[in-house]
């Protein structure tokens, strides 16, 4: 997997709410930033790039649940502000398909949006380092570093929440540990083993990063040959 969609009901409510508030603040900043450009021209562009991300996500490699998500491509084509808006639209739509939780759209947008925003700036950085003739390599490297960073954002969220599906409620209402409790159906949680979680993610994720990097690199290389204007101009 290139990035991970957090499912519903797994995180405590307080962090879900923080995710929504943070996403709302970032979105309002992005919308303000793009307000000086002609929205009528940009909305169809957002629509196409978001649709391409969704189409990419429909092409799944079933056993490992891997799909390309083209977040960095969105960042490179749209620029960070429009890409973040596009990522929010994509996350909201795919959450309706049951692909990632609906309550955690805010958090998932931060994770995937980080990939697009980091991707844009890293692409510019690598392009400057490698030279204008290497957009493919620059975008591939941007994907690997961007996905590493966005995975760390996700791990940071998990660490902050201690990924405790029931602890918040159980602790609030003083229900005893289920291992010794009334029935075997109700459980409590002493918290996630964060190190084990991080290890699991870092074992599975690099394969996704690599595939995404190869595909993104080739896509950007193709675009730079056919429509260089799409990646050469300064974006919002």
């Amino acid at each position: 997997m290139s990035h991970m969609h957090i499912p519903d009901g797994v995180l405590p409510i307080w962090i879900v709410l923080i995710g929504w508030v943070a996403t709302a603040l970032i979105l309002s900043f992005c919308i303000r930033r793009v307000s000086r450009i002609d929205i009528r021209r940009k909305v169809p562009l957002i629509g196409i790039v978001s649709a391409l991300m969704i189409v990419g996500m429909t092409l799944e490699i079933v056993p490992i649940a891997y799909h390309i998500n083209l977040g960095v491509v969105a960042g490179i084509i749209l620029g960070p502000a429009l890409a973040f808006i596009s990522v929010f639209i994509v996350d909201l739509i795919i959450a309706m398909f049951g692909h990632g939780g609906i309550t955690v759209v805010g958090l998932n947008t931060i994770v995937t949006g980080a990939e697009a925003v980091f991707g844009y700036y890293l692409f510019q950085l690598f392009l400057a380092l490698l030279g204008k003739q290497s957009p493919g390599w620059a975008s591939s490297l941007a994907v690997i570093v961007g996905l590493f960073l966005s995975t760390n954002v996700m791990l940071g969220i998990v660490y902050a929440s201690h990924i405790d599906p029931v602890k918040t409620f159980e602790a609030e209402h003083d229900i005893k540990d289920a291992d010794h409790e009334d029935g075997v159906n109700r459980i409590t949680n002493k918290g996630i083993n964060f190190v084990r979680f991080a290890k699991t993610v870092f074992i599975l994720a690099p394969l996704g990063w690599l595939l995404e990097a190869v595909i993104t690199g080739l896509v950007i290389k193709y675009i730079s040959r056919v429509r260089p204007d799409l990646i050469a101009v300064e974006r919002t």
């Binding site: 009901g9 797994v10 029935g183 083993n193 896509v219």
Partner: protein
């Protein structure tokens, strides 16, 4: 994630859920997801899941297909379950069931409601650029899916996607995605031109038609309310809790009864026709 088939189910059905308004189904989904979020009882979650599965049967939708669409988050939930493993299968079951039940709720919403109706209902709470972007994304998805289909066919016919040439396949496939993007961007410029001619000034969506709430709407909301009530009762009930087990038993019976009813109905129709 089969977007085209989901759209087909949403537009072709005629069950009570299909006939209910988008807003009432959004309320239903919100109530059920709240139940999922606040629940930590495996039997209760299993009961809700089976009740939703019965609802899929009553909506005359293909159960296996709908459940498989909603099964995707199980893989991610499994990672969370593995990470919090302490030897209790129930803990893992709760995490996976939470993800599956929430996903099935959302999938039921979208396979019974055309997307434009959902967008119209949530539009008042979204900024204009996002609301408009969602509509255009939705429209563009189908165009791009068709282009993708044609592209994959063309690649296969010309030997661009062949067995055991994985590297070559990835290169060709990636160029294909690049081509899709370029075509899509050209299309977005055409969109802009056409929309401009039609007087587009940054606002495209119109509100939903004003219709009175009917019994289908009440049924959807009451169903969601019932699920939330049971969840709250179990949530705040001190001492031994049996409601979850009762609900599971009830939902299993409801599921079997629903399946039998639909099967018998089919047989009755076949018998009558013959």
């Amino acid at each position: 994630m089969d977007v085209a088939i989901i759209d087909y189910y949403a537009n072709s059905g005629s069950s009570f859920l299909h006939r209910a308004k988008a807003l009432s189904k959004l309320i239903f989904a919100a109530l059920v997801i709240t139940s999922v979020v606040i629940s930590s009882d495996m039997y209760l979650l299993l009961g809700i899941y089976l009740s939703l599965a019965s609802l899929v049967i009553w909506s005359r939708l293909p159960l296996i297909k709908v459940i498989s669409i909603a099964a995707y988050p199980a893989i991610f939930a499994l990672i969370f379950a593995v990470a919090s493993w302490n030897g209790s299968w129930i803990r893992a079951g709760v995490i996976i069931l939470k993800a599956l039940t929430a996903a099935l709720t959302m999938v039921i919403l979208i396979v019974t409601t055309p997307y434009p109706d959902i967008f119209s209902s949530i539009r008042p709470v979204l900024p204009k650029i996002i609301a408009e972007g969602m509509v255009l994304t939705y429209r563009s998805v189908f165009i791009l899916l068709e282009l993708t289909d044609n592209l994959v066919k063309a690649l296969r016919v010309r030997g661009g996607l062949t067995r055991r040439r994985y590297l070559k396949n990835i290169v060709n496939f990636s160029s294909g995605i690049g081509l899709l993007l370029v075509r899509g961007l050209d299309m977005s410029e055409k969109f802009y031109g056409v929309m401009n001619v039609r007087g587009y000034g940054g606002k495209m969506l119109e509100g939903q038609r004003e219709e009175k709430a009917g019994r289908n709407d009440f049924a959807a909301v009451i169903l969601g309310g019932l699920i939330l009530t049971v969840s709250l009762m179990i949530r705040f009930e001190a001492g031994p809790v049996q409601y979850g087990a009762y609900l599971t038993a009830f939902s299993v019976l409801a599921f079997i009864a629903s399946a039998l009813y639909i099967l018998l109905e089919k047989h009755r129709v076949i018998f009558w026709k013959s």
